[in-house]
Amino acid sequence: MFALNNVSKSFGSLQVLKPTTVDFRTGESTVLIGPSGCGKSTLLRILVGLIDADSGTIHFDGTPITHKNIQQQRQRMGYVIQDGGLFPHLTARQNVGLLATHLGWSHDKVDARVEELAELTRLPRIALDRYPTQISGGQRQRVGIMRSLMLDPAVMLLDEPMGALDPLVRFDLQEDLRKIFRTLGKTSIMVTHDMGEAAFFGDRVMMLGEGEIVQEGRLEELIQNPANEYVARFINAQRIPLS
C-alpha cells in the first residue's frame, strides 16, 4: 500500500526521522508506537503529505506521491486525528458529507452513506444534526471516523485517535473501531504511545525511537524478545501497573 524508500526529515538541526525504508502492506493493521518525539507522528504526516520529506520516495498503491497528485491521492486515504479535527461551523452530517458534496454526489446518495456510517460507528442519529460543540468527545471522534470513511478509502491513517478521551469512552470506541476495521478489512496505520491499544489493533507493531524503527513484528515478539534495552524499558514501563 505504502512503500517508503530512504525517507528522512529534519526540523532545523534536529533529525526527527532518519533515512527509513519500509513497506506497509495491504490489508494489514500496523501500529507505530514509541514515546513522544520518536518520529511516529512525523512519519504518518509525511504519508498524508502534511510534511514534505527531505529525501527519499513514497509510493502509494504503486504510484509515487508528488505535490501534483497528493490531493487526488488524499481522497483515497482516511485520516483521523485526536478529537476528530471536525469543522466547528458544520453539523456532524455536514462534516461527514462535505467532500462528497463538493465532489458532486447527490443529496440522497450523501445522506444514505452518512446513515450507513452512523450505523457502522454506532453514532446516535440525534447527534448527526448537531454541531461539534454540542456533542461529546467520543461522539466527535466517531464523526471524525465517519468523515474519514466517507469515500471508502483504501487506507486509514490514525494519529492518536483516542488521545483526548477518558478511559470508559475510550474502551467503547476501541472495541467499535476494531470491529469496523475487521468488518471493512481496511489497511490501517495507527500512531499511539499506548501498549494496550497497540495490542488491540496491531497485526504488526513498529517501535520507533529517536527517529528510526528500532524493532518491528507482532507485539508478543517485542515483549518476549525486545531487540534492545530501549524496547524492553518502554514495554516494561507500561506493563508494571497491569501486572
Partner: protein
C-alpha cells in the same frame, strides 16, 4: 486603431454638440463658498446674480477652506467664488515659478491668467486678519495693541487652522512681535468665539468684518507694526464662464466696489445675530442696491418645518449614499486583500502597514488630495471613506483566517479539498464572525466620518452640523448629529442580525 479613433472623435463631437445646445438653453453655473458666514453670503450674492442672468445655479456652500475652493476652481468643479487678495497672494506664491513676484493685484491677475482664472476688481471691503480679546479682559490687562501681548505670556491663544499655517499669519507673527506665548492651539473659528466667551482662551484671530466682534464685545488689537496684509475681497471666476455664460460673468462685475465694510458687517450680523437666512440677506441687498426683484424664502414655523423635512430627507439620502457606496467598494477590495495577506506573510505585513498608515492620515488631508482626481462632491468623499474602511476589514479578514487552528486547516487539506474549496467551504465560514465584525466597525466609523463629506460639497449629516457650528445653532448641529448617531446604532444593530442569519450556529456563543 483608426476605427477606434474615429469612434472617439464622433463621441467627442456629439458630446460637445450636446453641451453647446445645453449651454444655449440654460447655462449651468456652480458657485462655491467657504465655511464662514461672510463667504456663504457672498456665495448667495453670486448665486442670485447668476439666476437673474438666466443660469441654472448650484451653490456648493461651506466647503472646507481655500485649498478646496481653489483646487475646485482650477479643475472646473466650480465656476466662481469670492476670495481675498491676501489669501490669493499666499496661494499664488506657492504656485508661481521661483523668482516671480506676486505683490500687486496686477501681478496676481497675470499669474492667474496662466491658469485661465479671471480676478475681478475689489468688491470693496477689506476683511483682514486681526487679533481680538474680550473687551473687559483687555481693559483689565491694559492691552490695546498686539505689542502689548508681549507682557502677558500666560494668555491662551485659540486660532483657526488657516491662521496657524499661513506665512502672513502665525508663522511670522510671533517673531515679528516677539510674542512669548506657549499655549497656542488651533480650533474652528466659530468655536473660538465660544472659547473667548467662556474664557477658556483669551486671544483669537478675527476677520475684521466679523459680526461677532460687536456681539461678543471684543477688542480688536491694533496691528501696530503693520504686519497683516490687506484682504480685499475679489471675485475669482473661470475664463470659460465668460464664454459659456457671458451674461452671468457680466452681472458679477456689478459687485465691483459695491460692498463696503459696513455693508458687509451688517449683512453678516443679520445672519449671525438676527438669524436671518443668508439667501434672504443677500437678496435684500441686491434688491435694494441693483433694483432687482429677487423673491425671498418663506419664514415662520411652517416654512421652517418644510425646510427641516427637506433637509432631513436630503441629508439622509446623501449620507446613506456616501456610506453604502464606499463601504461596498471597501468590502469588495478589503476581503480579497485580507485573504492574500493571510496567504503570504510578507505581503500581509506590507498591506496591513499600508492600510494602517492610511488610517492615520487626517481626513481633511485625504479629502484635499482627492479633489484634483475626483473634483468636488460625493466622489472624493466616497474615495476617502473607502480608504478609511479598508483597515478594519483587511485586519479582521486576516485575523479571522490566521486564527483558524492548524488542526482544522490540516483536516481540510487531508480530506483532499484543495486550496480553493478549503477557503470557500472551511476557512471563510470560520473567519466570517471576525470579517463581519470588521465590516461592522468599518461601517460605524464610516457613518461618523462621512459627516466630513460636507467640507467638499458631498452633503450628508455633516452639512447641518457645519452650518450649525458656523451659526452657533445647537438645533442645527443636532439635526446632523442625532441622525448620524442613530444611523450608527442602526448599522450596529443591522449587523447583529446579519451575524445571526449568516454565521453558523456552531460558531455562535450562546448565552
Amino acid at each position: 486603431m483608426k476605427k477606434l479613433l474615429a469612434i472617439c472623435f464622433a463621441f467627442t463631437w456629439i458630446g460637445s454638440l450636446c453641451s453647446i445646445t445645453e449651454a444655449q438653453e440654460k447655462p449651468k453655473v456652480r458657485v462655491g463658498s467657504k465655511s464662514f458666514t461672510e463667504s456663504v453670503i457672498l456665495g448667495e450674492l453670486l448665486s442670485h446674480l447668476a439666476i437673474q442672468a438666466g443660469a441654472d445655479v448650484e451653490h456648493l456652500s461651506e466647503l472646507g477652506g481655500t485649498q478646496v475652493l481653489w483646487k475646485a476652481l482650477v479643475k472646473g468643479d466650480i465656476d466662481a467664488y469670492v476670495d481675498y487678495t491676501g489669501t490669493i497672494q499666499e496661494l499664488l506664491a506657492k504656485i508661481v515659478e521661483p523668482g516671480v513676484e506676486v505683490r500687486s493685484e496686477a501681478d496676481m491677475r497675470a499669474a492667474m491668467d496662466q491658469l485661465n482664472i479671471v480676478m475681478s476688481d475689489r468688491i470693496g471691503f477689506n476683511n483682514t486678519y486681526a487679533l481680538g480679546m474680550q473687551e473687559a479682559t483687555a481693559e483689565k490687562l491694559g492691552i490695546s495693541k498686539i505689542s502689548d501681548l508681549r507682557d502677558h505670556p500666560e494668555l491662551k491663544f485659540g486660532i483657526s487652522d488657516e491662521f496657524m499655517e499661513r506665512n502672513d499669519c502665525w508663522r511670522q507673527l510671533p517673531a515679528k512681535y516677539r510674542l512669548p506665548h506657549k499655549d497656542v492651539r488651533t480650533m474652528d473659528h466659530n468655536l473660538a468665539y465660544r472659547g473667548i466667551e467662556h474664557n477658556s482662551i483669551q486671544v483669537t484671530d478675527l476677520y475684521t468684518t466679523d459680526a461677532e466682534i460687536e456681539f461678543y464685545r471684543l477688542r480688536v488689537l491694533e496691528d501696530d507694526k503693520g504686519f497683516f496684509p490687506t484682504y480685499y475681497s475679489v471675485i475669482l471666476m473661470r475664463k470659460d464662464l465668460a464664454e459659456r455664460a457671458p451674461k452671468v460673468a457680466t452681472s458679477y462685475l456689478q459687485l465691483e466696489n459695491a460692498i463696503d465694510s459696513k455693508a458687509m458687517t451688517g449683512m453678516t450680523a443679520r445672519v449671525r445675530l438676527d438669524r436671518q437666512l443668508e439667501t434672504n440677506v443677500a437678496a435684500a441687498f441686491l434688491n435694494e442696491k441693483l433694483n432687482l426683484k429677487i423673491p425671498y424664502q418663506g419664514i415662520g414655523p411652517m416654512a421652517e418645518w418644510k425646510r427641516f423635512v427637506e433637509r432631513f430627507t436630503k441629508t439622509t439620502l446623501e449620507h446613506l449614499f456616501l456610506v453604502s457606496i464606499s463601504l461596498s467598494f471597501a468590502i469588495a477590495i478589503a476581503i480579497p486583500l485580507g485573504i492574500l495577506s493571510a496567504r503570504n506573510e510578507a505581503f500581509g505585513q506590507t498591506i496591513l502597514g499600508v492600510v494602517g498608515v492610511i488610517q492615520t492620515l487626517p481626513s481633511m488631508a485625504i479629502l484635499v488630495f482627492m479633489i484634483p482626481v475626483f473634483g468636488l462632491g460625493a466622489y472624493p468623499a466616497i474615495a476617502a471613506l473607502f480608504f478609511y474602511s479598508l483597515l478594519p476589514i483587511v485586519r479582521n479578514t486576516y485575523g479571522g483566517l490566521t486564527q483558524i487552528p492548524r488542526a482544522i486547516t490540516e483536516s481540510a487539506d487531508v480530506l483532499g479539498l484543495g486550496r480553493r474549496a478549503r477557503l470557500r467551504l472551511v476557512e471563510l465560514p470560520l473567519a466570517l464572525p471576525s470579517i463581519l465584525s470588521g465590516i461592522k466597525t468599518a461601517a460605524v466609523i464610516n457613518v461618523g466620518t462621512a459627516t466630513i463629506g460636507a467640507f467638499i460639497g458631498a452633503g450628508g449629516y455633516g452639512a447641518p452640523i457645519l452650518t450649525g457650528i458656523r451659526l452657533s445653532s445647537i438645533p442645527l448641529i443636532l439635526q446632523g448629529a442625532v441622525p448620524a448617531a442613530l444611523l450608527a446604532l442602526a448599522v450596529q444593530y443591522g449587523f447583529t442580525i446579519v451575524e445571526r442569519r449568516f454565521v453558523s450556529p456552531g460558531l455562535q456563543t450562546r448565552g
